[in-house]
């Protein structure tokens, strides 16, 4: 025969001695151990250097000859591709560049009035810049956030191409990044 009282007592002890965790923890990590948390990077360009502040989870990559720099922007399903290019002078009209980007996401070119509707003006360290959010809702695997700084002697293009949800998730980061761009003398 079984001693049921003993058996029940044993399992009650096991049950109530487990899982007393209140699920709130506190700990500290030295700021030095955080590594490259907020990166401030520098790229040479003639006698000026371009500076920016980026989120710590963007991975800087190089290798594109046309680009000043590229970043891999993490998404839940992979990475978005962010690039900065700088060209002397005007480097084509705004319309031709926007239409080129529209083509990259499978949309047909637009006329000036339609492009004006897509354009937002924002202010950054370098002054005013044009901001574009280009989405093809029929093909959401590719969408573009872009910014154009038209300076006295150069035009700077910042473009993030990624899947639509990734784009939205990174829109604020992208805007802050564009706003943080500055040119300083070497």
């Amino acid at each position: 025969m079984i001693n049921y009282h003993l058996l029940i007592s044993f399992f009650l002890v096991i049950t109530f001695s487990c899982n007393t965790d209140d699920h709130i923890r506190t700990y500290r990590i030295s700021k030095k151990r955080q590594g490259n948390s907020v990166a401030q990077s520098i790229i040479k360009n003639n006698d000026l250097i371009l500076k920016w502040e980026k989120p710590d989870n963007w991975i800087e990559v190089t290798g594109h000859s046309m680009r000043l720099v590229s970043f891999r922007v993490p998404c839940s399903n992979g990475f978005g591709d962010l690039s900065i290019t700088s060209f002397d002078g005007k480097s084509g009209s705004i319309n031709s560049n926007v239409n080129r980007w529209l083509g990259q996401i499978g949309l047909s070119p637009k006329v000036s009035e339609e492009i004006a509707d897509l354009t937002q003006m924002k202010n950054g360290e370098l002054g005013q810049f044009l901001f574009f959010k280009l989405i093809n809702h029929q093909k959401e695997e590719k969408a573009i956030l872009a910014a154009i700084y038209t300076l006295e002697d150069r035009t700077i293009f910042i473009k993030l191409m990624s899947e639509f949800q990734c784009l939205l998730a990174n829109e604020i980061d992208f805007t802050k990044f564009c706003e943080s761009l500055s040119l300083v003398r070497k």
């Binding site: 058996l7 699920h23 991975i59």
Partner: protein, 370 residues
Amino acid sequence: MIKRLLQIITSPQVFVYTLIWLMILVFFGTITQKDIGLYAAQLKYFSSYYFIFSDVIPLPGGRLVLIIMTINLFSSFFKNYLWKIKKIGIIIIHVGGLLLLIGGGITAAFSSEGNMVIEEGNVASHVDDYHDMELALVNTSLDDSLEYTIFDAPLLKDGNSINYKKFDIEIDIISYIKNVRIENRISPADSIYKGFLGEFVLLSQLPEKENEQNRPGLIYKITGSNNKDDGIYGSFLGQGLKDTLIIDDNRYFLEFRRKRRNLPFSIELLDFKKVMHPGTNIAKSYSSEIHLIEDKIPRRVLIQMNEPLRHRGYTFYQASFIDGLEKETTVLAVVKNYGRLFPYISSIIMSVGLLLHLLISLPKMIKKKI
């Protein structure tokens, strides 16, 4: 009533029924995995106390069946007829079986799985869980350190209210979203919506089959910080720019992330190598040369496919990689399993028990034959 229930649970027939039911669960769990994904199938059939079959019939899940099985096996030690010298083999087999079940329980309750993503030249000292999430409130106002206050996944359930006395704040969980979809706000947001939710909305969308592909999100209300920052916040996995708030003149940011386990040592990725199948982009083998840094002393170790690093109860497997143009990034699968040795030990014990029982029964069997 309880005595009657225990009588049923502890009867030897129940052990046989639970064994058959486990086989049925394994069969259906394996079949369903194709449709609902591995993680969901595991949760539904094996990690649950019960599950609903065809939206109507509640049936016992793997966890409940294993608990009944453990009670059943354990209760056999309280039965007087077992405690005889000629049944020593059977006692040992029962001990082995019970150890196997206890090991399974320990693995289910305390083990963790996750991954570690390290870029070449970088050092990491934490593991991100594959499935569990946490909300972190990070104090950035301290001079030399960041102070993390972590609210674990069990607290982040719809309608739950977290009253955290240390800061005198209350966090009300409005919605935990398994797979979030982000949309722009059509009209300006009410002032109660703070940070990211001021410009966007987080909507729920159908979860992906494989849980790792989902982007979980959390909508929650904070009260008691200060009047300006009290309001509704929204965070999601992979959010770059975190929402911030001021509590007692300290600046905090909010991060919704995979549950993080800090390791008592660090790993620095020195070099990542991959060998491709000729003429393809398919990796044949890959390996990570690392520095295992403990007490500031680095030790060089090579982790490669089928040759994991085992250290202080953790096992690091070479799982994947991320290609970079200049630097590569390794992905290590990290497992800490406290019940790892139980199957080996219990198998040995059960083998010894079976052998002993055979030896004890052998003279009787020979006698019968003669």
